[in-house]
């Protein structure tokens, strides 16, 4: 409300018309920002000013603005989602910045994520990985009662830890090799841990690993930047599980 102190910030933002445009940084000023603005609401303010001046607003992906849809995707001061622990950029609030700060804003950068426009990238590679095998091949209808197979709490919790991934791609953006192993490992581990997913575990891990390579993602060389950048705190232990499942599958 009006009694809040306001901040003025300098934004240095990546602007790129399309995948074939070379792109460049542009500088903007964000005025009248309070500590209660979310990062994206701060960008809304800047965009409203740009529109009134007849300029193209900064294009960025967003939808739920509550940290769950995985749509928002910005590198803030060199860190995907801005570096606050377990926080997507849409949930980052301006109270973590100071009046007069300069903020660099860029899109996810990875070979497998070509820039669509400004801060928007094409993440269809992640969908390709799931389509390759990130499911159980159950039919609609004709399945067993939910309690027919008991799943101990530890296993259910482990699967849930992995399943929390929101598919934003920050892991890829933070990785020096642009690897999607955390993303893939989380899905492989979730399904391999559950009795419903065991039958296809070997086929799945091979198919998903192949898709990962085909979509242009790199390999994991144990930097663990992905875990640090992940807004859901997905653990790198799932990459170890991915490797283990892959070895097991090769031996079959």
């Amino acid at each position: 409300m009006s009694d809040h102190k306001t901040m003025t910030l300098t934004l240095i933002v990546w602007r790129q018309k399309g995948p074939n445009d070379p792109g460049k940084f542009e500088t903007y000023t964000a005025k009248g920002i309070t500590e209660h603005h979310s990062f994206l609401e701060m960008l809304d303010v800047v965009n409203e000013d740009l529109i009134k001046e007849g300029k193209d607003p900064i294009a960025f992906d967003h939808d739920c603005r509550e940290g769950i849809c995985g749509m928002c995707s910005q590198v803030v001061n060199g860190v995907p989602h801005g570096g606050q622990e377990r926080t997507t950029v849409c949930q980052l609030h301006m109270r973590t910045f100071k009046d007069g700060d300069t903020i660099y804003i860029e899109p996810w950068r990875a070979r497998a994520f070509p820039v669509t426009r400004d801060l928007i990238v094409d993440r269809s590679g992640l969908d390709n990985i799931i389509q390759a095998g990130g499911y159980t091949s159950c039919h609609t209808g004709g399945v067993a009662d939910g309690n027919a197979l008991l799943i101990p709490k530890e296993i259910a919790d482990y699967a849930m830890d992995a399943a929390e991934c929101i598919g934003c791609g920050a892991c890829v953006a933070s990785c020096p090799n642009s690897s999607a192993m955390l993303f893939t490992g989380a899905k492989v581990a979730q399904l391999a841990a559950l009795p419903q997913g065991k039958a296809e575990a070997a086929v799945r891990v091979c198919a998903m690993t192949d898709a990962l390579k085909e979509s242009g993602f790199g390999n994991c060389s144990n930097h663990y930047e992905c875990e640090a950048a992940c807004p859901k705190g997905i653990s790198v232990k799932f990459i170890a599980r991915l490797n283990r499942e892959y070895q097991k599958a090769l031996l079959k």
Partner: protein
């Protein structure tokens, strides 16, 4: 016109089985000759596209996000109902049916609700088979929690991310069909028109949101599963991109819009912090299992910290007013009760628009760790937004627009009055009456998508020849030209106000005059002001860029233009319904103690509106509601 919902007759327990048997079937070898368009790939559309593809239909699916995994179903936190009765606490299909009819304040169709309750159990099994990691107890059995409006524990959940897990389950089933080639997926594609040929729905016109290209897709049937419309209030718990556009375009082409005035205001959301705010965040209703709502009894205490207010000076108003349901009173009732306290000048926080949701007694009883285990992610989210630690100090919450019970009118087959146009999930009006109970929307979306449409669409397709309309049909060309002209107009106005600026003003008119409480006068004010504002929008909006590129301003402008037309309809519906029921509270119609007062003699019907032109009054059609299994009664949660 008196509308017919085409509900099967006979004993309610047998209606769905009998109806399934009576429906015509499409020969398996012929299925691939039929093309079905599914717009929207949330729970309802994702489940539908996957199931129809698996049956062998040739499916094309569309969503506006970059991936079907991001539909707003993903944001559902609390859980999904089913009548499994695993806890042995007295649940049954009948009880779920009964609770839903009563929760909806007797404004839903019995047969549809029965079917929903019946298939609820299949949904849980289906999701488990997909690998959805529902919460389990130490023995490995599925766990349950309680939700508002029920006295049994029937809600299944996956931490505080149930919607996410269910959607990822449906998305994985969809991914499997995309790989199999039965479903072709078009993400970042927005439907902007419905193509109707000889009175039947035969295709859609879309805009590719990346290139701006306009295209038509023709099919033998069109399924809309495009979600809810409460962004008409601007600030709501919905995602930024949620809109009425797909439904509204279908409405303009003849589909009736039913009960638009039934909107749900969710009691537990984080209060608005400032003018610039773009959306409101929900705190799951499940919190009311362990959180207690209160405000200070005395106005002098308003300035104090909550910890400084003595126990006896706190008014636990829900427990006081509704002793048997207490903090788990249904949403409409809990929201109005919160508003009542604030209107009485006892609201807390900036502007007096808030009540406390306090966990201290549960923390004392159960330990902080137990509360963290149950709601940890919600407490984290609360802290991220407000910078307050809710383990130490009560949360501050306020009601916010959340869900739309109204939607496109459909019959028992989920088919609208336009043959070949089916509507699923939040986009239709069918099962929640005037108020939805918590954890029933996920249930409905998946019921419609997995277990209803696969049968009922066959009944329609079996009677139509495949491929009746070709892509070069004159209606397709006409539709593209119209959409093009509409977009060009938006781009050429070059006025002074931004789209958001207009949407904010429309939202505040809706919230002030047609929100938690409405009156004849407030609605008449809106019915006057909205068209005037709409007029100004078309004279003075500024949309930069062109139509032939990625242009988020143009997307928003189109959605806002549709909200302008729709908002007026919503107010007209609220104005015509001279009663209070569920989420529709007309201040003139309340009992002495402030409860909603229905008028069954005059309003026990579904109000379905027919579009007659932008500046013309819509025409009302009625579908009378009959209650043969649950007796019409005053809804009481005392």
């Amino acid at each position: 016109m008196i509308l017919d919902g085409k509900c099967p007759t006979g004993p309610i327990e047998q209606t769905w089985d009998k109806h399934r048997f009576d429906l015509k079937l499409v020969n398996p070898a012929n299925k691939r000759k039929y093309k079905v368009i599914v717009v929207g790939t949330g729970l309802a559309g994702g489940a539908a596209a996957a199931s129809l593809g698996e049956l062998g239909y040739n499916v094309e699916a569309f969503c506006y996000q970059d991936s079907p995994r991001r539909a707003h179903s993903i944001a559902a936190q609390g859980g999904i109902n089913a009548a499994k009765n695993y806890p042995n606490d007295g649940d049954s299909v009948y009880r779920l049916f009964y609770d839903t009819i009563k929760g909806g304040d007797f404004r839903a169709r019995e047969a549809d609700v029965w079917r929903l309750a019946q298939v609820s159990n299949n949904i849980i099994d289906q999701c488990v088979a997909q690998g959805v990691p529902f919460a389990r107890d130490y023995a490995g059995y599925l766990d349950n929690r309680s939700f508002g409006g029920a006295q049994v524990s029937r809600t299944f959940f996956a931490r505080g991310q149930t919607g996410q897990q269910l959607l990822l389950g449906a998305y994985s089933a969809l991914a499997r069909q995309i790989k199999a080639g039965t479903v072709k997926m078009f993400p970042r594609t927005e439907m902007l028109d419905l193509i109707v040929v000889d009175g039947e729905a035969k295709g859609i016109t879309v805009r590719d949101l990346v290139t701006g290209e306009l295209r038509t897709h023709v099919a033998d049937a069109v399924v809309l599963a495009t979600g809810g419309y409460v962004n008409v209030f601007y600030l709501s718990t919905n995602a930024m991109g949620c809109s009425v556009t797909a439904s509204w375009k279908a409405h303009r082409k003849g589909a009736f819009f039913a009960n638009p005035c039934y909107t749900q205001i969710h009691p537990t959301c984080i209060p608005q912090a400032g003018e610039y705010q773009s959306k409101l965040t929900l705190m799951s209703e499940s919190l009311r299992n362990d959180g207690r709502c209160w405000v200070p009894k005395k106005k002098e205490d308003l300035g104090k910290k909550p910890s400084e207010i003595a126990e006896e000076d706190r008014d636990y108003y829900l427990e006081r007013k509704y002793p048997s349901f207490g903090n788990l009173a249904p949403r409409d009732i809990a929201s109005r009760a919160a508003k009542e306290q604030c209107d009485d000048g006892r609201g807390v926080g900036p502007g007096g628009r808030g009540v406390y949701l306090d966990f201290s007694s549960s923390i004392k009883r159960l330990s902080e760790d137990t509360i963290r285990e149950r709601y940890g992610n919600l407490f984290e989210m609360y802290e991220r937004i407000t910078a307050d630690n809710a383990y130490k100090t009560p949360m501050r919450i306020y009601p916010a627009p959340h869900y739309s019970m109204g939607g496109l009118w459909v019959d028992y087959n989920c088919m609208s009055n336009i043959p070949g146009l089916f509507v699923l999930g939040e986009a239709n009006f069918s099962v929640h009456g005037a108020n939805r109970l918590g954890a029933s929307a996920l249930m409905q979306g998946l019921a419609d998508g997995y277990f209803v449409i696969p049968y009922t669409i066959g009944g329609y397709l079996a009677q139509t020849k495949p491929g009746k309309v070709a892509a070069d049909h004159p209606e397709c060309k006409k539709s593209i030209e119209e959409v093009q002209a509409y977009n060009n107009k938006l781009l050429s106005i070059n006025g002074k106000r931004t789209v958001t600026d207009f949407m904010r003003e429309l939202g505040s008119l809706m919230w002030e005059n047609c929100g938690m409480a409405r009156t004849k006068e407030s609605l008449e004010e809106n019915i006057k002001k909205i068209p005037a504002l709409r007029e100004e929008f078309w004279q003075n909006v500024k949309v930069t860029g062109s139509g032939a590129e990625l242009n988020q301003q143009l997307e928003n402008a189109g959605r806002t233009a549709d909200f302008f037309e729709f908002a007026e309809l919503l107010c007209r519906d609220a104005h015509h319904r001279n009663e209070s029921c569920g989420g529709h509270f007309r201040a003139e119609y309340q009992s002495e103690d402030g409860e909603a007062q229905r008028d069954d003699a005059n309003y026990c019907y579904v109000g379905a509106w027919e579009f007659k032109g932008v500046d013309k009054e819509p025409e009302l059609h009625k579908e009378p509601l009959k209650f043969e299994n649950v007796h019409l009664a005053v809804r009481s949660y005392k």
